[in-house]
Symmetry: C2
Subunit: 297 residues, 2 copies
């Protein structure tokens, strides 16, 4: 397929590379010239502008920060796109924004899919987990592209417009609590009754046969192979808005999400106080899977 691609940051480049490896022709754009240069080296044909992409392709993946950047891109696209076209927002947009955007674009006969994308930097190799919402027919048309990006079995049609981003929002809410749960346990091993426990060994044992084995545990093991003191970094944990949105949605529909709530509080505190050993580990895990910045002390 001829695929337009807007947003060639860390995640965007990984996705574009998978598309190229699956023999798609990717025509990409990013406002950041350095990102364009990197993407070009991966095989992306760099367009002059968003309008340029709109004129050359009829299926376009957007991978830009949630909020105004998405609206800006869509506004430029819809001025130049030739319907019928499909736009897929693979970022972390709020599901209600996705519903609004779908409805606006539908008036111009442009299809819009909202796609939750999980997998972080490692998705480039193993494939991403894709949760797609929107019109079923557009989903079917985008399927060759979706399958190229996704891990085997790592994609599905979720339901009506917004549901892809909704499911991803909930995914992120779970993720916040999982990271904190692992981190508080490893904090106890670090500062508890037994000194000098080997956390690299323990995370490896836990990852083979235990109830709590997981990909996050894999990442923890990668971290502990390098260091377990975390002396040089701050414990301030960053975040995007999806965790907060998940909690707001949960409160609105009266579903208790006490662990997410507590995890968000801990993150907020960590940015004020510099956190503790556990929040340092969460920051490092976020760096490990997503390349998110870890502050140096």
């Amino acid at each position: 397929m001829n695929i337009g691609f807007i947003g060639l940051g860390r995640m965007g480049q990984g996705i574009a590379e998978r598309l190229i490896n699956h023999n798609h022709h990717v025509i990409g754009f990013d406002f950041n010239q350095a990102m364009c240069t990197q993407a070009q080296q991966l095989g992306v044909t760099i367009a002059q502008s968003i309008a340029d992409i709109a004129q050359q392709t009829s299926i376009i993946w957007i991978m830009v920060p949630a909020g105004k950047p998405v609206d800006d891109v869509l506004e430029q696209l819809q001025q130049k796109l030739h319907p019928p076209s499909i736009i897929i927002d693979g970022g972390n947009s709020h599901f209600k924004d996705s519903i609004r955007r779908h409805d606006t674009l539908a008036q111009q006969h442009i299809a819009f899919l909202d796609c939750g994308t999980s997998g972080g930097l490692h998705g480039k190799e193993v494939g991403y987990s894709l949760m797609v919402g929107g019109d079923r027919q557009a989903y079917e048309q985008a399927l060759p592209m979706v399958q190229s990006i996704a891990a085997p079995e790592g994609y599905a049609y979720m339901g009506p417009t917004g549901s892809g981003h909704y499911v991803k929002m909930v995914h992120n809410g779970i993720e916040y609590a999982l990271l904190q749960a692992y981190a508080e346990g490893l904090h106890l091993l670090k500062d508890g009754h037994y000194k000098n426990l080997d956390l690299a060994t323990i995370t490896n044992v836990w990852n083979h046969g235990s109830i709590i084995r997981s990909w996050i545990m894999n990442l923890a093991h990668n971290i502990y192979k390098k260091d377990s003191s975390f002396n040089d970094i701050s414990g301030a944990i960053g975040e995007n808005k999806t965790g907060q949105w998940a909690l707001e949605e949960a409160e609105q529909v009266k579903v208790p999400m006490d662990l997410l709530k507590k995890s968000l509080e801990i993150r907020t505190q960590s940015r004020q106080s510099g956190g503790n050993y556990a929040t340092k580990l969460v920051a490092l895990l976020r760096h490990e899977f997503g390349g998110h910045m870890v502050e140096k002390k």
Copy 2:
């Protein structure tokens, strides 16, 4: 090896079966005759008594409930064992009990290893995750047995006496919070903005390429392939004492474990109120990995 085995319940049988499959000769005992009959069918030679095992073997695995049952078994064993012998407690004993027992047995030149064992019923096939504490020399002697029980790479020497059960206690503290984290998220998907989301499909997509993929997610997917309404069951979550112990230890050494604390509160409440959709899922997950009872409504 000739291995004594005391406690042939669900977990014990799975472990004994692995030992037999690795060409060890297992001489077992359980006070429950039905368990002995089942174990016999797996190839376990059933002894007449604990004393009988003590006389026939010099390395013995104990898999009985924590607390008095362990002390009772040890008391009977130490009367009949011929030193040098090794006893391994593979159950969920408190690490301080393990230190006390080690020291008592050491006076009679009987080695004692404390082994945290994770993996639940599925460990029988894939192997268990084993965390072993105690005297290093005894560990080396027990290694052929440990390796037969464990998943590949799923075992290691943790450190001094008690550290095996300590690490397993922390493992369980993490497990409690992980189960609750997944469950509260899936609760939101069930009762949130989008009706009729297919949770079997979503847990499968999440298990391929996503940040939150894990063995627990595998189990959730197995549950959702069968049902997602959970109408017929109670949401009361059982527990053993390890989660509470982990929290007490954390409070003693001033490590915050807020997610574990909240998860324990939710479990306590669930037994009083019958819980909610999320606690039903936790109960089902516990059943899925450990065969723990789920109450019918």
